[in-house]
Symmetry: C2
Subunit: 246 residues, 2 copies
């Protein structure tokens, strides 16, 4: 499977979560990124109203969550599991950072079901739980305070998995008609005439006025309608000036 | 400023947040990624115990938060502001995705203070608020359910800002002594002898046994101590076999 469809082969496993609110937050984080398969190993309280409240529009993810008595059960039919850890452990496998870890996990789903495993809020994964995973993953964080909330960690990893699966996708189309070169030359010529007529531009000492205006418009990436507005404004200023003179 | 220090020039502005818990979650998300400057525009309730609870170890970020009466006030001394939006608006500026937007924001802090602006939980930023920003940013999300929690959106953006500022940093060092080539050749030779002696390897039909074992060990990236353990095991198996024969 490729693209977004690959995300359906990834299960998110929460081991012994203490706070039902975090289960809901994890479900919401998953669904916003297109993941739907939540496994819960011995949650302290589930189902729970607080989980439903924090899940918001991802109640369906909670309702289809799979309850397991141990991490081994949750991983039984998987071909690859990555486990989150905030610290290095003795005899652990080599770590990956979140971004590379997400890419590895995604590549592994080509062979079958894979899992991303999160530990308890306070203690993280136990060494025994982490030993059931083939890849420990760390989220880069402030060394002085690296304590990400569980739901927030799920959000970052699901975001990275989505980007690894399909990239960010096309940006929403802009409803824009850019000005053509002749429109902009017309505007600059108009501005120059007006600036000379008003006396702001001294032809004996032009300095770099026109170059600066040209640079400003190049950076602005003018739209056709904006050129019309600016020329209309200019024409109006020119008329006013004439009126004042008479 | 370069590296992590650049993050100190970025203020995170929350406009009209409804839920104090989200203010706390945002403070925690910021601190985990090394950002510390929180601005609050007309929060519904602040200070608030729920914000403190959800901030966990980031209470200092809450305590130093700057309260503002409007977004213009919060942005007054900034040279660049990016505003988060979940949808395209009429007459908006061209959007960036989260990753590119974080890089642009970070580059802009070379010229002075910059801001990353988040809207209200339900309605997002108003068009008037977004118009005060020079860059609208979208987080790539599931088109069927793109409703990220406010704290989760802050977490993703601060994570991207940290990576844009300094990358993920070095991975924690592994306390590992890899095996040398001669160690591995010794192990393979030992295995071959044992496999011949036991009858598992038929010298007339060796197939690709030794090639497969070599491939397995290459992938395993054996440590020196693991080679010792495996050779010890082999020696023990060989002895047992001899004893059984006698």
């Amino acid at each position: 499977m490729n693209g977004i469809a690959a995300l359906s082969r990834i299960r998110v496993v929460l081991c012994r979560p203490s706070h039902p609110g975090n289960i809901g937050a994890a479900a919401r984080a998953m669904k916003t990124m297109g993941l739907h398969r939540l496994y819960l190993v011995s949650p302290r309280s589930f189902p729970d109203d607080e989980a439903v409240a924090r899940a918001s529009g991802a109640r369906d993810v909670l309702e289809r969550a799979v309850l397991c008595s141990s991490l081994s059960v949750a991983l039984a039919d998987t071909v690859f599991a990555a486990g989150m850890s905030a610290r290095r452990r003795d005899l652990s496998l080599p770590f990956s950072w979140a971004r590379e870890g997400a890419a590895t996990l995604l590549a592994s789903q080509a062979h079958g079901e894979v899992a991303l495993v999160f530990g308890n809020e306070t203690a993280g994964l136990s060494n025994e739980e982490l030993a059931l995973c083939q890849l420990p993953i760390m989220i880069p964080a402030n060394a002085d305070y690296a304590s990400l909330n569980l739901g927030a960690a799920v959000q970052i990893m699901c975001y990275e998995l989505r980007l690894a699966a399909a990239g960010p996708g096309p940006l929403p189309a802009e409803a824009v008609t850019p000005a053509q070169a002749t429109d902009i030359e017309g505007l600059l010529a108009h501005l120059e005439r007006a600036a000379l007529a008003s006396g702001f531009l001294d032809p004996a000492q032009p300095k770099r006025l026109m170059l600066r205006l040209r640079r400003l418009f190049a950076r602005s990436r003018l739209e056709r309608e904006e050129v019309s507005i600016l020329r209309g404004l200019l024409t109006s200023f020119e008329k006013k000036k004439i009126r004042r003179k008479t």
